[in-house]
Amino acid sequence: MILDLPRFVASARPRWTELERLLSALEAEPDAERDLAFLTRLHFLYERAAADLGKVRTFASEPELVRHLEALVARAYAEVHETRDRRSRLSLRSLAGIVLRDAPRAVRRHPGALLLATLLTVAGMAFGALALGVDPATKRVLVPFEHLSGDPAERVRLEEGGETRHADGHRAAFSSTLVTHNVRVAVLAFALGGTAGAGTAVLLFHNGVVLGAVALDYVRAGQTRFLLGWLLPHGTVEIPAFLLAGQAGLILGASLFRRSSRSPLSARLRSVLPDLVAILALVVALLAWAAIVESYLSQHHEPTLPYGLKAAFGLLEGSLLAAFLLRAGREREEP
């Protein structure tokens, strides 16, 4: 049987045109509320267009008509069968909701990944400290940053003597540089999760190595108070931010090879994407805060600012962050 194509097209064309009109309206205003009559009509027209496509493909095989109907059915399918959140408008309120409510929930949903990120960093710290302790000559390799390569005691003398006020006059630019650099590293830590988490693990371990080596270098030089006063104000936010970025990378990596799960890979990835985005949004917010603190507070030393006060500020920040991650968004959390 071959379809009487011109007659078929003439009778179906009004339906296809109406479906195109409804789809254009939906695409132009995806957030608008639609009444039941609109949705029922959309569904009816979609099903008719799908049936028409099947009919044309079976009984007529006219390629251009098939392509036209395929494009129409594809558009309608995306609208009719989408069950995820349809919100598309980005506002300050929705962003605040993601950072303040969704992100801590997402962090709590994947405690194993956060624990592993922490353990990898701690292991790196232990390795860095051990390597430097065993062979001080490795400092140049372990801490490949010019401003940290010198003698800690000499640096403290210069900083406290007011001879290295390198950030004076450009603290805003300094904090911008810090935040952009740190966000890039955090994004890399997350993206390397695509290597089944191996790249993320290496990056976290490497961060730990640098941190451990720097810490031991200052402790051995008798500059523990300076170290705490310098690192704690921004470190209590910045280091957890990197751990959270690592957590996101490890979640991504774990969903690639979680064999115990019965869900297919695409479904596993789809289910964790909103959590990853929420965690990364929080990471960016934390790194922005840490950069401001590092630029405007961490670079001030005694006698301008007592180390005890700076360390107390850092501990307060860390406590607030821990409380936030443990408690925020909990009241609306599903049991």
């Binding site: 049987m1 011109p6 399918y77 911008s176 890399l188 993206a191 789809r270």
Partner: protein, 253 residues
Amino acid sequence: MSGRSLSIVTPEGITFSLPLAGPLTRFLAWLVDLAAIAALTVLSRQAVLLLGAAGEDVLRALTILLGFAVTIGYGMATEWWLRGQTLGKRLLGLRVVDASGLRLNPSQVVVRNLLRALDALPVFYAVGGAACFLSRRSQRIGDLLAGTVVIRTRHPALPDLEGLFPAEANALAAHALVSSRLKQRISPGEAAIGLSALARRDQLDADARVALFAALAERYRSLVRLPEEAVDGLSDEQLVRQVVDVLYRGAKP
């Protein structure tokens, strides 16, 4: 590569396909986007300079932040606001869509763009390009993990079927037995070839057009013995047109 497509079966049992974009087209779109990012960065610098009274430190900070925001946010912002298209993709007729044919979700846009950090390694999107070449759906790592594909957009218009058929009387239609045999012996696929040939006849070279319609007429003649009085004096193209008319419209004499 260019012939790859993504087939989707709807719960209603209907299959439709989306033509996938190849790595080369995607690379060209990326070059356009690179130029757009460079232009936006320059523009943002100029815009910052207009705030001259804010002080040098603040201006430098704004320049750094805006440059960073443009670099990292361009793909996310454009793909979200332009429904899966950056400027480059729009220019090259490409679009990012969900790999299962559903609407593109904000989290997919964010993740596929952040994973550029991995795809871009070690230089010039080597990892992403290799993944794109090797992937069945031409997906880079970001696409694979975000569940997205890049397709070629198309808005095919409805073909003008009425214009294909002869306005004059169809001599074949006067022979009921011949009409029945044509409908019985010519498969839908062979009929569709005739219809497509008629629809595209103006796009063919003269020689190719003559050869194509000669082959089709020969094929139809081999399947059904056509009465001499009905086809006498008809060119091959006219004969194909009349056969297709009978097949698709059930033409009356």
